[in-house]
Amino acid sequence: MRKARGIVRNLQQAGWYLPAGILLFLVFVYPVLRTLVLSFLHVNLESGFQPVFAGLSNFGRLVSDTRFYRSMQATLVFVSVSVLLEFVLGLALALALEQLKRSGRFFRTLLLIPWTLPTAIIAILWMWFFNDQYGAVNDLLLRLNVIEAPVAWLAQPRSAMAAIILADVWKAFPFVLIVLVAGIQAIPREMYEALEIDGGTYWHKFRYVTLPHLLPFIFVAVIFRIIQAFAVFDLVFVLTGGGPGGKTETISVYSYYTFLRYMDFGYGSALVLVLAGLLALIGWTLYTLLLRHYEPGR
């Protein structure tokens, strides 16, 4: 009797979780499971979209796919350079704006604008900026005498990658900035005063108070940016389409092509799975590296 009542209560409790559980299943578990299943199948034009069991052959093909390696390389270059720049710029400006106090709030809002714009719009904007004939970038550099003749930014692999990175940094560093500003504001004033009395200089304040307190915030900002940067799509798609020579094709652009243009769902799923696995690995590594010595919350 009592046991039966317990079960009823458990069921009632479970009922409360049901809507959230269904939502989670639909938007997260189901797509992941489906991708997992697809990666072990051939589902493509050739098979007429009829699933054929493929074993590990999709993954085998991945191992010998030079385009996969190249896109991975492009992705890693993009992610490491852009996230590093966003971090340095975001941190520097967060520290600077904190000094400005009240007017800092105004600049902070101003700097946040790029973050609020849709990436596709930003990509089109920067495509015009980078235009070799009429673009603002060349115009500015010519006026400043940095370059002697217009640079064809999107026409060469290296400068095209630099252009994509620049556009991404412009859009995303405000995110890092705002997270770090929040972190800086959470630091107790007494920490700085204690160090000031102890004889600390500005550098010491940064080294012994600001940085250790910011670590969890830095972790959050950087891991967010890394995940987002890994999935970069719009910028590349609009600015270069992956060119020249496929040198700016990131893994997400390659996945998109594989799914929607080549209609190879089995192989595309394998690509996406590898990307997800890599992200999990990077997240875990960063977590252990950055936060092992400092747990947030206390």
Binding site: L45, A155, G246, V272
Partner: protein
């Protein structure tokens, strides 16, 4: 991640089953209003078949992806497909297009341009009815050029002579995208080379002709073509040419309408693309047509519309109002006949998108970077063979 995005896109999907029972079609942005006008005309003649036109993005591959996403969702999507030449094989192979072979009259079969008909066919069956045709051609400044070039050497020599600090010799589309494939093919064919034999699936990209073609293109960069040419698409080159900043321009017929309203309006003429001395000129065939979706529940109504919109009178309107070259032999304007005659189709294979991507990537790589032309084409050939062999 992508799946979530895809599922989201699909859930927001276009009209599909709309309440009025209209037939739906995804089109390009209707800047001139011509499509709306033609549809209104059709609806007037067929009051029981309303048409709902969705204006898609201007980029053709974006519309290709939208169609694909719509078909993949499995539900009834668009009834009518406004279809580029290079999609037909893929869409037909996927089973998304209805076989229209037996609906064509003998008269139509004779009138449509044979290349356009073939480009609309897959495995001998017709899936797409051509509406207008496209072919690459060479525009030049007749106020500067005395006699238009015939060979690659002519083009290069004249370009060098006539260019100056404010004016480049030769503009083409060099960004890594479908346009690069079409440009490269014209050069390749002009040197007597070939890309893929659609029937045997043989790949010829590592031939000597292909190397010559790529070397020719590469040599133009920075000499007679601007360094940024490897980032240009059609509109970039057209804008520069119309501003009087180039002597030669490789582009499509649509430029002819626009250039006549530009600062260089009376100074431009065109000829077929140049070629090697022993060979003949070639143009990459483009063009659009209409097909009936396999998932449509109203095939007869859809066919009525396709038949209407590809009719003689409608093609005339398209030419007059949009500069689109009719795909009926009887209607091709005289000045375009020499161009259209040279037009050759890109291989009608289901794996076309992937094959073209391989070509673009390696050609673009050779144009902008380290791999030599020979090496790049060898790699491209290997990859293409692997792709087509893999497909069996």
């Amino acid at each position: 991640m992508l799946w979530i995005a895809a599922a989201f896109i699909l859930s927001l999907r276009m009209p599909g089953a709309n309440p009025e029972g209209a037939l739906s079609v995804l089109m390009e942005p209707d800047g001139t209003g011509t499509w709306r006008m033609l549809i209104a005309q059709f609806e007037k003649e067929n009051p029981d078949i309303p048409i709902q036109m969705v204006e898609g993005p201007p980029a053709t591959n974006a519309r290709e992806d939208l169609y694909a996403a719509s078909f993949l969702s499995g539900k009834a999507g668009f009834d009518i497909v406004y279809c580029d030449v290079v999609w037909t094989a893929k869409f037909a192979a996927a089973g998304w297009l209805r076989d229209l072979t037996d609906r064509l009259s003998r008269q139509d079969l004779n009138d449509f341009l044979p290349q356009e008909l073939e480009a609309g066919s897959y495995k001998g069956r017709v899936y797409r009815i051509p509406a207008f045709t496209d072919a690459g051609m060479l525009y030049y400044r007749k106020d500067l050029v005395e006699s238009p070039p015939v060979t690659f050497d002519d083009l290069e020599r004249q370009a060098r002579q006539l260019q100056n600090g404010n004016r480049w010799g030769f503009l083409w589309q060099g960004k890594q995208y479908e346009g690069l494939t079409t440009v490269f093919l014209e050069i390749l064919w002009g040197f007597g080379g070939e890309w893929i034999d659609a029937k045997t699936k043989q790949v010829y990209l590592d031939s000597r002709e292909a190397v010559k073609a790529l070397e020719f293109l590469k040599k133009t960069i920075g000499t007679i073509s601007p360094p940024a040419v490897t980032s240009y698409i059609e509109e970039d080159t057209r804008t520069l040419f119309q501003a009087g900043r180039a002597v030669f321009l490789r582009n499509w017929p649509y430029v002819w309408t626009l250039v006549r309203e530009s600062p260089v309006k009376d100074k431009v003429a065109f000829v077929p693309m140049v070629h090697a001395p022993e060979e003949s000129s070639a143009a990459t065939l483009g063009g659009w047509g209409f097909a009936v979706s396999e998932t449509s529940s109203r095939v007869e109504d859809a066919w009525k519309f396709v038949k209407f919109i590809t009719g003689t009178e409608q093609m005339k309107v398209m030419y007059e109002r949009m500069g689109r070259i009719p795909s009926r032999r009887s209607l091709v304007p005289a000045e375009f006949v020499p161009i259209i005659e040279k037009a050759r189709m890109r291989p009608a294979i289901p794996e076309y998108a992937q094959a073209s991507d391989i070509l673009q990537r390696w050609v673009s790589a050779a144009l902008t970077g380290r791999p030599g032309c020979e090496e790049a084409l060898k790699k491209a050939a290997e990859e293409t063979r692997a792709l087509l062999g893999h497909a069996k």
